[in-house]
Amino acid sequence: MAETNLTCTVLTPERTVLDAKVSGAVIPSHDGEVGILLNRAPLLCRLGVGILKIDGCEEAKQLFVNAGFAEVANNKITILTEQALMPDEVDAEKVQAAQEEARNRLATTAEEQDKRNTDLARCAAKLKLIGQ
């Protein structure tokens, strides 16, 4: 295993979800995944809905992240998100119900469609996290 000399912090407004030493991470950026390794140039990016993958950390390997921002500076990864979930915090039944509801929802305007798409993406990411 590579050396764990990066710090990864996942923060939500309500709590600190994770604060650990890692060897690398893959961030779900708004336009695709971004891999972070040692000595990466400073980065500030917007996050999409997706899964944050962490390498070399025993507490968590994957986390669901519901949009937000990420900052990388001085080998410190800071994720700000309004919601971050560990795999064991995801309730499969609830997510499936929400997915079903979003699928059957009538979306006529562009706004409604956007909302439905993000809701669906959120559900899909959550389900992927728990391996379903």
């Binding site: 407004p13 309500e14 400073p42 980065l43 500030l44 990016c45 917007r46 900052e71 800071t78 309004e82």
Partner: protein
Amino acid sequence: MANRRDLVKRRKSVRNIRKITRTMQLIATARFQAAMSRAIATKPYASTMGNMVAAAAQSATNLDQPLLKVNDSGQTAILVLTSNRGFCGGYNGNVLRLAMETVAGKKSDGIDVSLNAVGKKGIAYLRFLGEEMDMQDGSIEEQPRFEQVSGIADSMMEAYREKRIASLHVCYMQFISTGVQKPVITQLLPIAGLDGAEDDAESNGEAPKPGTGTKIDFSPEPAELLDELLPASVRMRLFQCFTDAAASEQVARMIAMKAATDAAGDMIKLLTQKYNRARQTAITMELLDIIGGAAAIS
């Protein structure tokens, strides 16, 4: 004799009250600890958010953001945060006094004010005064959740973008320490002091951005990033106001209930004294009667 029985009864009821207030004090203490740790848990997010905004604002070519621009038209919105429950001493009174003073000041300057109230106590008070409220929310529990608060923040920002309100001020009890809470009114919109990004970081007491001077990769462009960052920071600041208010409320309740418990204790002492005196008087009277009777016979 009747007096003595009355005293016993009163002492009993005061004792019961003391039991209740002491329990409430203990509950408030436990809740306060939870509320305070929640208030502290918001700090890392808030300070990182501040740094990000500063970094993006520094690199952004144009700061043409609706949330930064000053609205000339529209009302001044004041959001008053109070508790849902009473028994917390001067907590609600102090917040509402500051709010109403501000409202009166604005109105005398000829500025239209839109009042928004969170917390049943504040709503009841404003209704009593006959003030009109544009928004009232009594559903937020003593542990405010971020989703609830961000809903309020979103509707306020919407109103600001549509120029229905010219500014947004939040009136709440700031939690400085366990001993000190202060009713304050802070401006949330328009976001102040971003033009000089460094000024903003300094005035908030935040550490300067790490790696300032080095080139930062932005994705998307800083200006676009600010589109999202600014609303998020407003939501966060409002959430901090709520957690602060929640912690202050529990402190106020703790202090009020401690005072009530102490006062009940004093009263019990006083009543006991009175009772003993009344008992002694009764015994003396009886003795006098007996002695008097005996003297009359002999």
